[in-house]
Amino acid sequence: MGELAPGSLTLALCLAAAAATAAEPAAGARAGWTELSLLNASEAQAAFAAASRANPASRDVRLGEALALLQLRSRTPANFAEAGRRLEDLRRENAADDAGLAATYFLARIQQLHSYTPDRPAAVASYRALLAAHPENYYAQLAAPKLTLLLLYDDVPPPEWERRVAEVQALLPRLTAPEALRDTRLILATAFIRLRLDHARAYPLIASALAAGSVTRMTRLNALLVQAAESAEVLGKPAEAADYYSRFLEEFPHDAKADEIRRRLGDLRRKAGS
């Protein structure tokens, strides 16, 4: 390993300091993020304003100020426009740092969700650009399920829908964040079932998500275990169906479906035994 020149060392230390700054919220901003996490937008605004007085250049604080505008109960076009302007400033100053990437993601969310006149194609383009430029970045990973639902739940002819399915399937191996992988898989699987009744393509995606143990919501786990069992039955995999039904009964023994599932499980076991 070659010796570091003093200039290089200084640069390395500066980069390390910058990285550390990006990784953690500024001390003053922490109160603002805490309030924002609790859906207290007005209190968050006050906390970010105080942090801004102490450190007006902090991009973390400026991002917080912009996002607090999106969380206010008065969801007005003026608030969205002001939030968009602040996010645009952050992105223009530096599109590649943490705050800049967050700003890019939230500008797409304004296009897709917050705006009273959503611009779906623009949101799709923004998510695609984010995923292309920074595939492993947190915000790109966050964008993947959003892009997936925009592509699949659209009124397009079957060939175009299949082309979009292929785009999403190509995206899956690039997803490194467990939550992005889980949700992109499940949005795709649910679309296969709801829009095509396609158990063959849905089942492996659901099975993977269940095997990874990444489903945290009990109501969703309830629905997915039933769906996995039903799809397995349709696909002629009775042993796998029985496993999912058994797991359902372990998790939800008092559910309104439990009695019927016990009956189905009995049938599957009888068939397996005969």
């Binding site: 996490s37 996002l67 659209d154 679309a191 008092h254 309104a256």
Partner: protein
């Protein structure tokens, strides 16, 4: 003159005494509360049913014995004013230590003004030590794992439930014996109708004004019958699985109707209307307008053989009548190849006992630690057993065998899930508006369905559009909360709750957002239908 003088003085003296007593009570309470180490814990609720107050008092005295420095008082707030009372006190920072959440309180007034209890509920309840529930997370000790009180807007739990209820038909045992010569209640809908005929014959023969059934909550209680009939239809409309959607989720049924996959001529929907019509025939004219007190009065006077109500009404009911009372579950048609039974895939399962009436701790509570400790005590297995025994209500904690009358109130988990309810939102209002055509003197299921057909599609569209609007709004707000959590998680000591909450929020947002887009797509496709 002298007499008038004396009366005036007597009145004045009474006023002085009343003032003195009130002042003394106020002063005593202030002095007691201000005493070193003394805590007065107050909790508010709206459960005025018989037995509840006594049960709360008994548990409170147990707790006081265990914790001599603590005094507990309950505040009973009438249902009619509960929402305004609760909201103003909670937001104004003047709420008691524990407040029952519900009756319209469920949005920002909860997640902004109550302490989240998710972390505590994921820990064992220390008052379950020495019971089979020792070491079990508090939330999992509930019959429904507290699913019923999970706040889906904030992805947190803000309270621990104390109540659970089922729908049951109470009957006058003596009158049943007098009319039929036996005491066995009907088990099927056909037997129920036969009993109705016997009651009418009895009334005609004896001249006694007895009606078979009375109820006070109208359509809500008959919803069970309605949902039994759309069991098969709802399952057919639910893509990819052989189960109907959840009880409160009619989305797929609405989308199916709007996309012309079923109509009001569907045997299931016709059966639902006809079954309710036939049930209505067992009740007195104008039953939809009856208030609870009026219905109980009918029953207590022996003018109705049966009363349909909530299990939580049982204790109060027993105190008001002079005859033995028993209860049975709503009799439903049996599944079969023809008639009502053909619309069913199995008897309606009641599933797990859903809990409600969570007591939460407002952020303004003067004694949050004591409030939490009392809440744990109240919902421990031994104390819930005692609460259920005294109040006659259903136990909310697992592993408690109901005693006596409560045995007949426990949910029946056998069978198949029912279809979703049509009582919610604009569609529920439209259904309600046309019920006079079903239950009126000249009412029929045909007249009801004809009128319903004019309004149903618009109401379904409105409910679906409103639902997606609400979801988008919730997701928009939570988007920024997710970002805030992400940043806090990168800091030091994020704890154990935040990572779980973050994961749950991301997962739910993506799932709900996909649902909203799906509904919009299917609504768009429905517009193209001829």
């Amino acid at each position: 003159m002298k007499r008038l003088f004396t009366l005036r003085h007597l009145g004045f003296a009474l006023l002085v005494v009343a003032f003195a007593v009130a002042s003394w009570r106020l002063t005593w309470r202030s002095v007691r509360d201000a005493g070193p180490g003394h805590v007065t814990l107050r909790f508010a609720h709206w459960q005025l049913e018989g037995g509840i107050r006594e049960a709360f008092d008994a548990i409170a005295r147990d707790y006081e014995t265990l914790h001599p420095g603590v005094h507990i008082e309950q505040m009973l707030i009438p249902v009619g004013i509960y929402r305004s009372w609760g909201t103003s006190h909670v937001i104004g920072g003047a709420a008691p230590d524990l407040v029952e959440i519900g009756q319209g309180m469920g949005g920002p007034e909860v997640y902004s003004y109550f302490h989240p209890l998710t972390e505590e509920l994921n820990q064992p309840n220390p008052y379950n030590a020495g019971t089979p529930l020792a070491g079990v997370p508090w939330r999992k000790t509930y019959t429904d794992s507290l699913e019923g009180v999970y706040n889906r807007a904030a992805f947190d739990y803000y309270g621990a439930s104390v109540f659970a209820a089922t729908i049951r038909i109470f009957y006058n045992l003596d009158l049943l014996r007098e009319i039929t010569g036996h005491t066995e209640p009907p088990r099927t809908f056909e037997e129920f109708q036969a009993l109705g005929r016997q009651v009418r014959d009895f009334a005609g023969r004896t001249g006694r004004p007895v009606t078979p059934l009375v109820c006070s909550y109208g359509i809500t209680l008959m919803d069970d019958l309605f949902r039994s009939q759309i069991q098969r239809l709802a399952t057919e409309m639910n893509p990819g699985v052989r189960f109907p959607p959840d009880l409160t989720d009619p989305t797929e049924l609405y989308l199916g109707y709007l996309n012309r996959r079923w109509s009001l001529d569907h045997p299931g929907f016709r059966g639902a209307a006809e079954l309710m019509h036939q049930m209505g025939r067992e009740m007195p004219p104008g039953f939809m307008q009856l208030k609870r007190e009026q219905a109980v009065f009918y029953f207590a006077q022996g003018r109705a053989l049966m009363l349909m109500g909530w299990s939580s009404d049982a204790t109060g009911l027993m105190r008001q009548v002079a005859f033995p009372v028993r209860a049975f579950r709503n009799p439903l048609p049996a599944p079969g190849p023809a008639g009502f039974g053909a619309n069913m895939l199995g008897p309606n399962s009641e599933g797990a006992l859903a809990t409600f009436g969570a007591l939460g701790i407002p952020r303004s509570s003067p004694h949050p630690e004591v409030a939490l400790d009392f809440l744990r005590f109240l919902t421990s297995q031994p104390e819930d057993r005692k609460f259920a025994r005294i109040s006659g209500s259903l136990p909310v904690i697992t592993g408690i065998e109901p005693e006596g009358f409560a045995k007949d109130m426990m949910p029946d988990g056998r069978g198949f899930p029912s279809g979703p309810t049509f009582t919610l939102g604009e569609t529920g209002r439209v259904m309600q508006n046309h019920l006079h055509l079903l239950f009126g003197p000249e009412g029929s299921s045909d007249a009801f369905l004809r009128a319903l057909g004019r309004d149903l599609a618009a109401s379904m569209r409105s409910d679906l559009a409103n639902g997606t609007h609400q979801i988008r709004r919730m997701i928009a707000v939570n988007d920024t909360s997710i970002e805030a959590m992400h940043r806090l998680l990168r800091g030091e000591n994020p704890g154990t709750v935040l990572p779980r909450k973050y994961q749950g929020l991301v997962e739910t947002s993506n799932e709900q957002e996909a649902n909203a887009y799906y509904v919009e797509l299917r609504l768009k496709q429905a517009q193209r239908q001829p």
